[in-house]
Symmetry: C4
Subunit: 352 residues, 4 copies
């Protein structure tokens, strides 16, 4: 198996076996104010939203995770079938392997998603650093690969910096993102991968015409942590230590959501989102939808029904939160009363 593809396999094994989740996303510091008298029927609450021009039944995103190794086809099939069934959005993992390697079996790990989910909102994934190598056409190829509704460009420079073999040249990325945002046939979402996006960065991205931002903040899956494990396995002590040192680096998800939403209209909150209540809090903070990666990995291994079940669970949790805040729609939820406490409050106060 080629390197890019094997690495993916490595990552998934570590995520399943090791403790590579951090805390501190900040949702525990956010309290939605209870509405004792909601004047709604819970089952008539409207949870639909529009993301990348697609109407979702619930504001839930299955975050970019996998593809690029034959082993991952099963995972992506389950996720996509569930996305189709429940009408939520889903991203595939980095399409680099799909673009660079010429292997039908491997390619299927991506293409499967559109096969089984003809109507779902699906989006592709490329790394910002790779844009330096790809022309617009290559990105369009990635779009076509899954007939994508949008394309995610991920920022993961901390992860690269922790990898012994990492690509640590981040120059010119913004210009490349601008080029793609201008020229691509579908909307572009720029996403982090666990360290969040500050207001300043979100603002620069808005300025170059990016259509949406997925914060992927600090508080969930930690790629520094994952790479630290990988480094340990090959005896790369220096990287192991750095991975640990930066294990919880980044803008906490709750903060990042608020900051990005202050400059951008279409924000996905992700990174440590672990329940429909977290999704509700994220929306109250200004997000359009909440995204989860790691929590879907286990269910995806068990099959489509398990994924559907998780989505329905999250959906009912969100609906319940909307019910007891008296929010008939997501836009009402967005303006519901909340308080921010503890460390998150302190952080916010200093970022104003």
């Amino acid at each position: 198996m080629p390197e890019t593809s094997d690495r993916k396999d490595d990552h998934i094994r570590i995520i399943e076996e090791e403790d590579v989740e951090t805390s501190g996303a900040g949702f525990a510091d956010v309290d939605l104010v209870h509405e004792a008298l909601p004047e709604l029927h819970r089952d008539e609450i409207d949870t639909t939203t529009t993301l990348f021009g697609h109407e979702l039944a619930v504001p839930i995103v299955i975050e970019s995770m996998t593809g690029g190794h034959p082993n991952t086809t099963k995972i992506n099939r389950a996720l996509a079938e569930a996305a189709q069934e429940t009408n939520v959005a889903m991203g595939v993992g980095s399409q680099r392997a799909g673009l660079e390697l010429d292997d039908e079996e491997l390619l299927e790990s991506y293409t499967v998603v559109r096969e089984v989910a003809p109507d779902a909102c699906l989006y592709g994934n490329v790394g910002a650093a790779q844009l330096l190598e790809y022309d617009l056409e290559a990105v369009e190829t990635a779009v076509e690969m899954i007939d994508a509704d949008a394309m995610a460009i991920h920022l993961n420079f901390l992860q690269e910096a922790v990898q012994p073999e990492g690509d640590v040249d981040a120059r010119g990325c913004l210009a490349e993102i601008e080029r793609v945002a201008e020229g691509l046939s579908v909307p572009v979402v720029v996403k982090e991968t666990g360290n969040g996006i500050s207001r300043e960065t979100a603002s620069r991205l808005a300025d170059v015409g990016v259509d949406a931002i997925d914060v992927a903040g600090q508080g969930g899956t930690t790629w520094s942590g994952i790479e630290s494990h990988r480094a340990a396995a090959v005896g790369a002590d220096r990287q192991e230590a750095i991975g640990n040192l930066f294990r919880a680096w980044g803008v906490p998800t709750a903060i990042s959501t608020l900051e990005a939403a202050s400059v951008h209209d279409q924000v996905v909150a992700s990174g440590g989102v672990r329940s429909g209540l977290d999704v509700a809090k994220a929306i109250a903070l200004g997000a359009r939808a909440g995204g989860l990666a790691k929590p879907f990995l286990g269910p995806a291994g068990r099959g489509t029904d398990a994924v559907v079940d998780l989505i329905e669970q999250l959906s009912l949790e969100l609906r319940t939160a909307m019910f007891v805040t008296g929010s008939a729609t997501l836009s009402e939820l967005r303006s519901t009363e909340y308080v921010v406490l503890g460390r998150t409050k302190e952080y916010l106060e200093q970022r104003r």
Copy 2:
């Protein structure tokens, strides 16, 4: 036994056997300022208050708990005898079973309270959602059932949302409450059941003419927790998880007391009130009286004397707090100096 009645039995068993109390009511964050030189005789302090037009010896309320199952007659008798003896207020549990089922033995579980407590301040209990089914006459029947001094209308939509069989239609409740508040022969108190009432909701209730508010805030008995246990018992995983997720949902009692008291004159603080010192703090925050449910359950099972003993204990604790804050009356206690610390302080600051 019919469903409504059996459910009550279930609830009481779970409350007695499982851990279904939360923390965070906020009283631990409230510090009354000591008065080293009180210039009072402790035993001449006046603890009387007027609630629902009835003068109580101490501002203590035995919160709405039970009735509706023959097993509960014993509990209600003990509580009511104690209320009569000590002159505190007492509520019965939801009278739904009493109104809907035609069963003498069952009915006695309610009527016993007035039989043994001819002079006490007793109040009835119906759910806000049931008002949609009842006309005013039905509510009057509930009043007559116990010759009630007031009628409590409870709001428990989170609990309903957690129950597999729950009634999650909250539409039109405010109008129904208004109708009852206007037409009923006795004062109406609207109460939550463990998730608190925000200033906004209290304000809407005040506007429709409700006579009193019982906050039943977050920090004591958790109905989400209770329903989670019930769901677990019947294998309803989804509800079990939601019950857990919303276990500590709601406006903390101390906050809710302050907020409700800012728009309403007659507020009962309940939800995690666990001592006469908590009652004192609640009154300093603006409450008319403090209410306790769970702490009375054990004593009620042991008999009237145990209940009287608890009331006397609470009463002496309150009196002691009044003594060392130099408060000769409850209205002096209401204006005693206090500080609010920690999370409660942060919460408050953001709700101003």
Copy 3:
């Protein structure tokens, strides 16, 4: 042995054997700012202060503790000999037994202090509530008993309220204190016994001419805790529970010191003072001296040398703190830079 006298014995046994110290005096929240370049010779720092018109070598007070039982003569002798040797101030415990019982052996437990400490600053002790029974002459008798330099009047109404046999009539005390403050031949210090004195109370005391205030705030020995143990021993459940409930009641010592010092010039900080560093912090907060009770009890049992040793230790600790804050005198220490953090900061902010 008469009741008053035996009770004293009881108390001392409990204080020695049980955990009747609380935390939360607030000194841990106070940080004195380091002076790296003090420009002083540590051993030439001037730690003298004037208390009750008497110049002390160090601003340390052995707080009122005992007397009234023949067993306590040994303790008071050791304390007084040490006070004489080191020139610190010392109070005797309540002189009630000495005033009310006619027993030479018992009386000696008080008179011993002046015998062995002809030059020390010694002060007497009566309860505020007893002033209602005593005329000025009786208080003068207490002064003469030990040829006192000052007379402490203690406020301990919470303790009384916890005792089954407690005297809970606090009416008229302020007027009695005024009468004594006006008429007595020596200065009068009003002291609490572990629950602190608020700014409001300190202000009322200043207004009636009291010469000094000893805050005895929350955070050290807890009399509610002690009485709770005594109540438990005689099966007085109600008092046992109340003692526990009010175990940590009161104005924390650091706060009380600041508040009292804002309205009074001569303030002793006590209650949880446990080192010379705490004394230094107390003085930075505005105190004239720091007082300790419980820490002296063990050494007093071992003899004069152990008490002297503790005073010298405290004194060197204070001197070290003065050295590293660059304070050549106590008045410089009083204006040294400090910060107040945590709960103490929050408390203060709300009392401004």
Copy 4:
């Protein structure tokens, strides 16, 4: 072996064997804001800085530690060889033994550093208190001993105060520092040794012409703690207790860095700096470089390579932090966005 020399040996043994590190430097309360899109090549980031007129490859200082005992030659050789190899700054420990004792072997423990590090930025070390005994010529002798690029004058009065044999005369030190700062042939840095330097002190030092300040704040190696252990070993109970009491005394490093940097241009942050990320935070707070002592002790014992390895590790950690904050140079890092939380935030707010 003479006393001064043996004491050094003692210290090092205790630092290696006992727990003499405190927490609370404050770096954990400082969060640098992530830059998801740094637009830099990590390996082209410029980490050079100028310290004492010398350009360093990375802003890392091996803090003053040792010399003065033949045993320490090996340590100093390893540190200096590494400083030469990596081009960081290095200080020697107090040169008192070198100045006062006439012993070739002992002297070599200092002179070795320049022998093996002809090009490195090396600085000498004398105590402020010793300046009272030395004339300028003696300090020049210390400079010449290692052909120093700068001379550190250390302030360690708390340590002296804890030592039974300590020199606690701090009078006249500022004037002596001024004399040396004016007359010496090389720049003068004034440093603490673990208790920090406040803004007020930094300001006085700036006024007398000191060229740099090394804060050596609270949060790392504690000399009070070390002396407490030494005191315990000789049964000096009083000093043992005082050492413990003042174990965590001082201005926390993060605070001290901010305060010193507000009045001085050339500030080294030290005391509990434990990673390149801490160095990055220190620079964001205004430092010119970060210094570490204790972390170098173990590697120095293992040899030059181990020291080089640690410097490279720190350097890569710093570089990574610069990369993910988008800082191409240290001056950009100095103006990167950060937040200050928790106790450190509270401390700061009160020092404004």
